[in-house]
Symmetry: C2
Subunit: 264 residues, 2 copies
Amino acid sequence: MIGSVIKAIEVMQAFTSSNPVFSLAELTRILPYPKTTIYTLLQTLESKGFVEKYENGKYSLGTAIIPLTQAVRINVQLRDRAAPLLRILSDYCHESVYLAIKDGDQCLYIYAIESSDRLLARSAIGEVGPMYCSSIGKAILSFMPENEVNSIIENEVLVKYTDNTITDPVVLRKELAEGRQKGFCLDNSEHEHDVYCIGAPIFNEHAEPIAACSISGTDVEMLSSKLVKFSAVLRYTAQEISRRMGFIPSRETMIWRDATNPFL
Amino acid sequence: MIGSVIKAIEVMQAFTSSNPVFSLAELTRILPYPKTTIYTLLQTLESKGFVEKYENGKYSLGTAIIPLTQAVRINVQLRDRAAPLLRILSDYCHESVYLAIKDGDQCLYIYAIESSDRLLARSAIGEVGPMYCSSIGKAILSFMPENEVNSIIENEVLVKYTDNTITDPVVLRKELAEGRQKGFCLDNSEHEHDVYCIGAPIFNEHAEPIAACSISGTDVEMLSSKLVKFSAVLRYTAQEISRRMGFIPSRETMIWRDATNPFL
DNA sequence: AAGTTAGTTCGGTATTGTAGAATGATGTTG
DNA sequence: CAACATCATTCTACAATACCGAACTAACTT
């Protein structure tokens, strides 16, 4: 374990989308290292383009980080395989489509096809979010071993983001059981107001739920009149992505192509 | 300058999308450092999620890199401001839309809205490409100071990717002059076969061309019947993005809204 | 079974990262 | 306008620790 590398990473991770600019002094307040240590770290990172220095002496993360993402394993192995299928899904549904993985106790969004009515300015890629109140997170949880689900649900305060957020572990567990049976989970505006989602899990070759994809919209019809059609194509998409990850669906749970399926 | 941090970065940058997996031995062949040095660097990076270790002992880049991109300055300052405008542009044109910045002598793609007929599986975000044979690159070059243009054109071999690639500096310079006058540049399948693009430059508050956006399609109509309409809305989009970057367009070059403009 | 290659552990040395203090630059307040 | 405060940067000296050779183990090859 090389201390200076650890510290360099901690310096980079101090920067966030809501706080993307720091002066040296501000960083010394955040991090438990002396000024000069952080100073030389910043200079080193700057020489490689990992941080940039503003005119006014402030620092932010540099562009050299962006090309690295193309080589990240999950992007090569999962995103690049899933992208064409998600494209078809998005064209069929005319709604935003997301791909996120389980990253520790959270979901990490690694791909998005955002439809025009998504008003959020920022790209979701790279964002992390809670598992218990998103369709993606619940879809992953619903197929995880019970003890792991417990450790995620119980080691975390279930924050009530909206009126619909499920904060009762009993209710949540019931919904996960239901999701496991149906093969998909919903987000009835449980995280953001007026955002409705359907999420379906993606499995790896060991049949572990490592990720999920979702259809997301601002129309509540998503969970009523459109649900049957959308959930079917979403589950099929997730299954085909899983297949490309080496997963072999069982005969009972397999989803077949039919007339309502755009993947004919 | 901290040596171990430099080395750690060099280790990470050894991974690419075409070569995303390495064993320790392979890395020692690529990098001029002893086995044990690279070994401890990998272990350190792994502890922070910056590299991941496969079952078979091989290494690849880890997911912890992905959230960092949300805090990268250019993504906060430019991408997040440009995204809604590019969304409108894409909806209007029904074509793929790209945003790339000048990064040294190359273009770095930082945002993309890919339309359904884009068959490429991979996301372009994070990719780098040459400036002299893309509409984005030429759009940036066309507004750069002459000496900087020279250093890019002359220090680089102009590879002939397709039959249409311009490899003659004289022809290229003439086209850049034309682009500067018109306010946009074309890519007539000069980099990839059957890909046609229109690119327009984006300026910062100092009126420097720091980036460009483009409309990209597989239909040659892009450069004929659709050109007038598309180039107008593209230029307007680029201007409005520039404005959000602090650029103040001059009265002569300003593009006004009109009936063919979706931004009414 | 011998040989080759790769991953990992170990330990001594010398490099070099670290942090205190001092300096210079900038901005702020009375 | 001066006195003060804050911040970035330079310098220096010591001690920590990164570094790398060598040794060891495991897996695979011939």
